[in-house]
Symmetry: C2
DNA sequence: TTACATCTTGTTATATTATAACAATCTAAA
DNA sequence: TTTAGATTGTTATAATATAACAAGATGTAA
């Protein structure tokens, strides 16, 4: 597990301490005081962080969240729940789910080690309102 | 099941006969001869078609594919396989999978009737190469 | 230590994807 | 026939992401 470069570390720290997924240009705005001035600098760091599994992209939201499966061996097999009201996103770590999906075979018998699953619904808070 | 409007029909027909997911601006380019000239006309039709379940958005690709689960009751519960080489996308219709996901409960016991799952791997053709 | 490859950064410009705002027109039901 | 809702047309702009090129940093292996 290599160390992060300067920009990667700055951007990871920001995402990691955020309670919600961050969008690329929100990140850019928040790191400009640290010398990161251009979109590409942000996207390059994001690409790398996704690649090594430190963060995940929430595809349906174009936003990025730190991995909280501390030992997310399977950076490429991700599952999230997304609240459609408050937009709270939670990474799901369920052995049962990940085993089921890792073993899933399609009609042709194909298996897929990589997947992304996004569940949508209402979080506890929004449900009671 | 209401009928489609003119623009919706034009755009659905294009997507439906396409062997691959289409992007919004590809669609725009292909329907300009039919009088649809602006991005917003395309996006409005796409929004509606997604809403009524005639097409699905492949979130990781920003592309749209016609629903081929002819009786896709659950327009909001979708699963696809995506080839990482040739980008072939196939909608998965598996009772087992949809039941499993529809019944999945997270740590808080929450169930989610809506989800999107994207599997990544190599299709048969690309695998043998 | 040097030479080499690789990764990382900086910078400007541009491409791609998507929505805002406003006005007109069509459609179907009361 | 009126009226509410859906659909269309149009221009402008916002939001997301990459291309292309140059320079600097880093780590290996001779
Ligand atoms: Zn993770
Ligand atoms: Zn919520
Ligand atoms: Zn479908
Ligand atoms: Zn393929």
């Amino acid at each position: 597990m290599q160390n992060l470069s300067k920009n990667q570390q700055i951007i990871f720290d920001l995402i990691d301490k955020s309670p919600e997924p961050l969008k690329a240009y929100t990140i850019l705005y928040n790191v400009q005081k640290k010398g990161i001035k251009a979109p590409l600098q942000v996207y390059r760091a994001l690409d790398k962080l996704v690649e090594i599994g430190k963060i995940h992209k929430i595809e349906s939201r174009n936003a990025f969240i730190a991995c909280h499966n501390s030992s997310c061996q399977v950076a490429k097999a991700t599952a999230f729940s997304i609240c459609e009201i408050c937009e709270k996103v939670t990474e799901i770590s369920s052995d049962s789910l990940s085993k089921y999906l890792a073993n899933f075979k399609d009609k042709d018998g194909m298996k897929y080690i990589k997947y992304n699953l996004e569940f949508f619904g209402l979080c506890k808070k929004c449900k009671v309102k």
